[in-house]
């Protein structure tokens, strides 16, 4: 059995390279064999063991997913296979069932609908209000540096969704089976524990799928 993990970062727009670095460091720290690559094409999506949807603008990523032939189909297919997926900030929005903007309201945008949550975009305000603060995250600890950049929050979550972290009464990290979503940017904090948590999911999924 091949125990090497192949992790893809969706490279349409946003902080792709930062997620590649964070996941690569996480693999090293875990002594886990594996590789992190950027993915933009359907055949690349089909061969990976886990997918990270990075930070950036969710409207732009949605448009680019819809425009490229076969890309949406391939992502829906791996979602059916319960492939582990992590979305940070914009990535979490793209994974969600519903979203609206705090100021502008409903915007027509493509959502994958895999994460049973409703998202408020720009939930903490505009860039002036972007902030850093220590977070308490289940399974990680109470000292994770949360980097919130025009961050969204989870307004409501379905029964399958586990809440991993809250800040100022708002839900900022969730997990639903193999899907993790965060309002903040774990790839920017220089702390790879969130990426490690995700890689553990990938390793488990791969083991179960190879049997």
């Amino acid at each position: 059995m091949n125990d090497e993990l192949l992790i893809g970062v969706l490279a349409l727009q946003g902080d792709v390279e930062e997620n590649i670095k964070a996941a690569t460091y996480a693999l090293e720290e875990m002594n886990q064999k594996g590789k992190v690559i950027s993915v933009r094409y359907p055949d690349e999506i089909m061969k990976i063991d886990g997918l990270i949807i990075p930070g950036g603008e969710s409207t732009v990523m949605g448009l680019l997913i819809a425009i490229k032939n076969g890309l949406l189909d391939s992502i829906n297919k791996v979602l059916q296979n319960r492939l582990p997926i992590m979305g940070t900030c914009a990535g979490m929005i793209v994974l969600a069932k519903q979203s609206y903007d705090r100021v502008v309201g409903n915007k027509k945008q493509l959502l994958l609908g895999a994460l049973d949550v409703e998202i408020e975009r720009n939930s903490f305000g505009r860039q002036y209000d972007s902030f850093e603060s220590n977070l308490e995250i289940s399974g990680i600890g109470n000292d994770f540096r949360g980097i919130f950049i025009r961050a969204p929050s989870v307004i409501s979550a379905g029964p399958q969704v586990q809440i991993l972290s809250k800040f100022d009464g708002k839900i900022v990290a969730v997990q639903q089976e193999n899907i993790i979503g965060t309002s903040f940017h774990p790839e920017l904090s220089g702390d790879n524990r969130m990426h490690k948590l995700f890689i553990e999911l990938i390793a488990k999924w791969k083991k179960a799928n190879n049997q």
Partner: protein, 323 residues
């Protein structure tokens, strides 16, 4: 850390500390400012002058919009003094699109910048497209919580702007002309200077690094960090004269992190299709087939005619303080 902290002023005026729910939160740090710029990567930022254009840009997949009073092409034709956009227009755009909103202020005009910060724009462009308000100094951008982007045509300019607090750099190019050659020249210049610097850094030649730092009038610390990284310590976008998907792909292939399009979209006769096409070509810049698909979406007969940059009355890239 995946983002360089070089030159950050930990006690700058722009940093705001407060307590939420018994926890300390910090705003306006170099990480949050540079991090915001990192979220724009591989994206296209489009110049707009009103709400209608901002909505077209958002629907076409712009990663942010830049609000200004006149497009650079029209600034050239109007002549006179170009200032920051109307507060009313900026406010209307803030209320109508969900993507980040940037606006331009004049070089050195710290008061226009404060107004833009108060209105709530997400990033301020201290821009040579507007008439400079100070010929000696740029704005000291560490005083602001809102991040700044500045233009640069060589490595020295880029590093000096970063030392003043810019969280993002763009090439100056020659705005409003539809001529991409100046943007190409500027990114080439920066790339070549960095390549040389990296070689010297890798050889541990400190004496040469000090010499370069003196020549380009930037601190040794930031010169060393740039040599270590082999790239600018902040995100670097292309700007000035980009008009077609092929232009965007050209500049991305030269190593730019993303694209600003000014007059190129809304001075063309097919803005929505063209904006979408530029977005696709930016993401798939290294894939000739997809760039061709994007280029097929536009009609060259509808591109802005452009200006001959050899006979310009106004060279915007030469404006503002020399240091």
């Amino acid at each position: 850390m995946t983002i360089s902290q070089v030159g950050a002023y930990p006690l700058s005026k722009g940093i705001k500390i407060s307590t939420v729910d018994g926890k300390q939160t910090t705003s306006g740090t170099a990480l949050l400012k540079r991090g915001f710029a990192h979220m724009q990567k591989h994206g296209v930022i489009m110049d707009v002058t009103n709400v209608e254009q901002a909505q077209i840009a958002e629907d076409a997949g712009a990663v942010a919009v830049m609000v200004l009073d006149k497009l650079p092409f029209d600034v050239r034709h109007a002549g006179g003094v170009a200032r920051t956009a109307s507060v009313k227009v900026i406010q209307a755009v803030l209320d109508s699109v969900s993507i980040p909103i940037m606006a331009k202020c004049r070089i050195g005009h710290s008061s226009e910048a404060s107004i833009l910060e108060e209105i709530g724009v997400d990033m301020i462009d201290e821009s040579e497209v507007l008439s400079p308000a100070d010929e000696i100094r740029h704005i000291w951008k560490w005083n602001y919580t809102t991040p700044f982007v500045n233009g640069a045509k060589n490595l020295g300019e880029a590093l000096r702007r970063i030392e003043e607090g810019a969280a993002m750099i763009r090439t100056k190019g020659e705005p409003g002309t539809g001529d991409v050659s100046h943007a190409v020249a500027h990114i080439r210049m920066v790339n070549n200077e960095i390549r040389k610097l990296k070689g010297i850094y890798d050889n541990n030649d400190d004496q040469e690094l000090i010499k370069i730092s003196r020549e380009i009038q930037s601190s040794l610390e930031i010169v060393k960090e740039t040599g270590r990284l082999g790239r600018l310590p902040v995100v670097n976008f292309a700007a000035g004269g980009i008009s077609t998907p092929a232009d965007a792909a050209l500049l991305m292939n030269l190593g730019c992190d993303g694209i600003f399009v000014g007059s190129g979209i809304f001075k063309a006769e097919d803005p929505l299709e063209r904006a979408k096409a530029v977005v696709i070509a930016t993401t798939y810049h290294d894939d000739p087939k997809t760039v061709l698909d994007a280029q097929k979406m536009i009609d060259e007969k509808k591109s802005m005619l452009g200006l001959d940059t050899k006979n310009l009355d106004l060279r915007m890239q030469e404006r503002g303080p020399t240091i």
